[in-house]
């Protein structure tokens, strides 16, 4: 019996949360939204998604939902690329920028994409140092 099957031993009608993480809900709704906008027919999505499921099987240590949404994201990126909406490099680039934005944003402040290139004003003021912080000694000759 695989680890993924262990859920079968639990009561089956207990209310489980639909999504484990907000990003799963985002990714799920994104595809449903694009479909409802008429950008693709549902069977087209199912074809892409089921191909990914076949080619990217569960990995050790992953929960069922981890596997499912890892596959969902891969398929989602393929879908938007094949529709010519957003390419993979654009996603990678933007993900990098978001990462920078997090790193540049003081804890507790909203994460804005603009913070990727320019850290917002914050109270981490430098203590005035009335002396050089670095010195490159003059050479004697």
């Amino acid at each position: 019996m695989t680890q993924a099957y262990s859920t079968l031993e639990q009561p089956f009608d207990t209310e489980e949360p639909v999504f484990d993480h907000p990003w799963q809900a985002q990714a799920f709704s994104l595809i449903v939204h694009l479909h409802r906008s008429g950008l693709f027919a549902w069977p087209e999505w199912v074809k892409v998604f089921s191909d990914v499921i076949k080619s990217a099987p569960p990995q050790p240590g992953e929960s069922d939902n981890d596997t499912y949404y890892r596959q969902w994201i891969v398929a989602m990126e393929q879908m938007v690329a094949s529709l010519g909406l957003v390419g993979e490099e654009d996603i990678a680039q933007r993900a990098h920028e978001w990462r920078q934005a997090y790193l540049n944003t003081p804890h507790g402040q909203p994460i804005l994409l603009a913070n990727a290139s320019c850290a917002p004003a914050h109270d981490h003021h430098h203590t005035p140092t009335r002396a050089p912080v670095a010195v490159s000694p003059a050479s004697s000759c």
């Binding site: 859920t7 089956f12 596997t67 996603i91 997090y102 944003t105 804890h107």
Partner: protein, 203 residues
């Protein structure tokens, strides 16, 4: 790392990629943030197996509705107001004293969202998807559901084109029960086929 307190820890890569795609599509005008929030709320809170339970309870109490449901599931379910993505083509299969039905999606996780909500994680997982077609009786045993050897088990493969909903048998001892009372006996798994409705004594 003197500056630890002055940044926000970035989430993991997969979350960043979702955020990236969402922001790119929003900038292109392809995503409406309000519509996104509405969808999330719908699937988190407003669709779920209770919709399907109402369909089943109505079929148990209204023979004309049951006939319509078995003849054209999509239409009969839409009568109750349940339609939408992954509910476009519904086929309802009826359990009888001779036949037990169970549904699966062998390719991915096609599932009737408007009537059952989003699927449980085991429904989406490879073990269920692959094994229920090979050994349905054995897999149902693992759910604690023993189907008599004398009963045929039919496994239905939901797909992008159509999804199945099981109409379980009405529990005995519920004569004279109202539709509202019966709804509470209909479990999600009884409509997937991996379980049975609750018995009236269990209430």
């Amino acid at each position: 790392m003197a500056h630890d307190h002055n940044h926000t820890a970035p989430p993991n890569e997969i979350e960043l990629r979702v955020k990236a795609l969402e922001s790119l599509l929003t900038e292109k005008g392809l995503i409406d943030p309000d519509a996104m929030n509405e969808l999330i709320d719908t699937y988190e809170h407003r669709v779920g197996p209770r919709n399907g339970a109402k369909v089943v309870a109505k079929a148990w109490t209204d023979p004309a509705y049951k006939a319509r449901l078995l003849a054209d599931g999509t239409q009969a379910i839409a009568e109750l107001g349940y339609s939408g993505v992954q509910g476009e083509d519904m086929v309802v299969v009826e359990n009888t004293p001779d036949v037990h039905n169970v549904t699966v999606c062998t390719l991915c996780s096609c599932y009737p969202w408007p009537t059952l909500g989003l699927p449980p994680s085991w429904y989406k997982a490879a073990p269920y998807r692959s094994r229920v077609v090979i050994d349905p009786r054995g897999v149902l045993e693992e759910f604690g559901l023993t189907i008599a050897e004398s009963k045929e088990i039919r496994v239905w493969d939901s797909s992008a084109e159509l999804r199945y909903l099981v109409l379980p048998e009405r529990p005995e001892g519920t004569d004279g029960w109202s539709e509202e009372q019966l709804v509470d006996l209909v479990t999600r798994d009884s409509m997937i086929g991996t379980g049975l409705p609750l018995q009236p004594t269990a209430k």
